[in-house]
């Protein structure tokens, strides 16, 4: 199985080549086009309850779609909903990524996805909700972002501060704490940053160059209000 990013930049697509019998698991609705040898199955990862909990708790899509090359080799084109870059990550069985909801685009067979409950403070204040996706296993993981994806590499005990709504994914060797952006609450709110995450290495943090929530607020002013 091979995969490559087409049209890198704001409007990319991923081309995944599948040998006969291979599968790729994608966010529901992510498929753009596929060879006629590819079958689309809707599969509830982790069984019905697992899927339900993922849907209810992390707000992720209830179903993943599984694209299977059941009648011979073929290719699949996948794309995310929002404009933004795509990143390909290789999982070797030992590295694990925490992915905020909406960050997952696709994963090959062997990639394991589960919902993980965050601690109370992280859940309340982190901006990703109480549940995030923990993705491990082996294979290729495809993440998408809103805007460009930026990779931050942290050495052991090296720290970095990230506005929580710009988070896409981070390795499980990385810890983080939520804190106020400025020393005072008023300054934190008026600076427009509110709460930030202080990450501590070692590991990698992927952030997106645009904030979906802020973009939503900005675009709302142009939507005519119908009475």
């Amino acid at each position: 199985m091979k995969s490559e990013i087409l049209y890198p930049g704001a409007f990319p697509m991923v081309r995944v080549y599948l040998n006969e019998g291979e599968t790729v698991k994608a966010e529901s609705g992510a498929m753009v086009a596929a060879s006629p040898t590819i079958d689309i199955e809707s599969k509830m990862e982790g069984g019905f309850l697992g899927a339900l909990s993922r849907k209810m708790l992390s707000g992720e899509k209830f179903f993943f779609q599984t694209l299977r090359a059941s009648r011979g080799a073929g290719e699949v084109l996948l794309a995310p909903t929002v404009p933004g870059e795509i990143v390909l990550l290789d999982l070797d069985g030992v590295n694990e990524y925490m992915v905020q909801k909406d960050g997952f685009l696709a994963g090959t067979e062997g990639v394991k996805i589960e919902s993980k409950m965050q601690s109370l403070t992280r859940g309340l204040l982190g901006g990703e909700g109480f549940f995030i996706l923990r993705i491990g296993g082996t294979g290729r993981l495809i993440l998408n972002s809103f805007g460009a994806i930026h990779k931050i590499e942290l050495k052991p005990n090296e720290e970095y501060i990230v506005d929580n709504s710009h988070l896409v994914a981070w390795t499980s060797t990385t810890t983080y704490n939520i804190e106020k952006a400025s020393s005072g609450w008023i300054a934190s709110l008026t600076s427009g940053e509110g709460l930030v995450c202080r990450f501590r290495g070692p590991g990698v943090v992927y952030i997106q160059s645009r904030n979906p929530g802020s973009f939503g607020n900005w675009i709302r002013q142009f939507i005519p209000v119908s009475e």
Partner: protein, 377 residues
């Protein structure tokens, strides 16, 4: 060598996400073999040269560090079996470190669990408070309602009701209920209410009292009663609903939080507006069993104080229990008329004996004025 990695190694010159490697526990340390293409070189790390701690997002990984300066390497172990093997093989000097690390993990887990537990506890506690403490909250809120509000509220509904019903303006029936009410009202200490009683032409065997002291008696009740004392018993019961503010309690319960908030912020118009939305439901308010019992007990005491023969009230209940199948409407919400009569008898026995004073009217004449004799023919 094996190609399945079970640990990640971090350090200068290594990938940011960590270099995958395979770690095994030997007698005197760890042996690390890089997996795949990586600048990492195979190494044996003696227990004496390393330090350990807990790390990772959930503090469930074993972090092993060694070296100095730019050559510091940090290894993250996650596999539980590997961590267990390490703990068995490690010397006691390092074990102290390890135990501290494990203790740290337990503490973090414990504090997380405690935090979740207390959050759940607070939610459950609030739920229980609302569920079981609702009555207390209602009582507390009702105690804060000024009597003038109650009167305004009751009067609004009273006038609405009377404007649609055939009211008997004068005559023996009206003077009879007024006499009963006055005699009882005179015996209520610190009575903040001015009772107003109306007689309404209706076959319904019922009487009701609105908050603020507005009482309606239906002619059906007066025709059914065998004596003035029986009607006075029902009236006494209703007056006590008013005095105990049972109506307000029911209203506040029905309107819930909105009512409590209006009371808190002193929004009289808001409360009356809310109550008006309920409209005549007020008139048919169903009281709870506890409220009924309270009104019964205080009702019979009031009768006794006013020197109105209290056995009229008891007899009325007894006759109701005989005819329970007929389901007289007044008591349809409480089928235990016989039990109520028994309770009232016990209550009456405990009261000081009073010599009853008869009413100035003759009950037969009152009933005749309502046309009972013709109805019986």
């Amino acid at each position: 060598m094996t190609s399945i990695p079970n640990a990640l190694c971090f350090g200068d010159g290594l990938p940011g996400a960590g270099a995958p490697c395979h770690v095994t526990v030997s007698a005197d340390g760890l042996i690390m073999v890089p997996v795949g293409t990586s600048p990492l070189v195979e190494a044996a790390i003696a227990f004496t040269a390393m330090s350990v701690e807990a790390g990772g997002l959930d503090h469930d990984q074993l972090v092993v560090s060694w070296g100095v300066g730019a050559s510091v390497r940090t290894l993250y172990l996650k596999d539980p079996a590997l961590i267990l093997a390490f703990r068995h093989a490690a010397p006691s000097v390092l074990m102290a470190h390890l135990e501290r690390a494990a203790e740290q993990v337990r503490r973090v887990r414990h504090s997380h669990r405690a935090l979740w537990g207390s959050a759940v506890g607070v939610v459950v506690g609030l739920g229980l408070l609302l569920w079981f403490g609702a009555d207390l909250i209602v009582e507390w809120a009702v105690a804060r309602i000024p009597v003038e509000w109650e009167q305004k509220l009751g009067e609004t509904v009273y006038q609405d009701f009377l404007s649609k019903e055939p009211v008997i303006k004068e005559g023996p029936a009206v003077s009879a209920v007024q006499e009963m009410t006055q005699r009882m009202a005179a015996k209520i200490p610190n009575n903040p209410y001015t009772f107003q009683v109306s007689v309404v032409q209706s076959p319904v065997v019922n009487a009701f009292a609105l908050p603020g002291g507005y009482v309606v008696v239906f002619t059906g009740l007066m025709k059914k009663a065998e004596s003035g004392e029986e009607v006075a018993g029902v009236l006494s019961h209703e007056l006590n609903h008013v005095l105990q503010r049972h109506g307000m309690e029911r209203i506040v319960k029905m309107m819930g939080l909105a009512a409590v908030v209006s009371i808190l912020v002193g929004d009289q118009q808001g409360l009356i507006g809310l109550a008006r939305q309920l409209g005549l439901e007020l008139a048919t308010l169903k009281f709870g069993r506890e409220q009924e019992t309270e009104a019964d007990v205080t009702g019979i005491r009031l009768l006794s104080d006013a020197r109105i023969a209290p056995d009229g009230m008891i007899r009325f209940f007894e006759r109701l229990s005989e005819k329970d199948k007929e389901r007289v409407e007044l008591f349809s919400s409480h089928p235990m008329s016989a039990a109520r009569a028994e309770r009232l008898k016990a209550e009456l026995a405990a009261l000081p004996k009073q010599t009853p004073e008869p009413f100035t009217f003759e009950w037969k004449g009152v009933q005749d004025s309502l046309g009972v004799s013709e109805a019986k023919k």
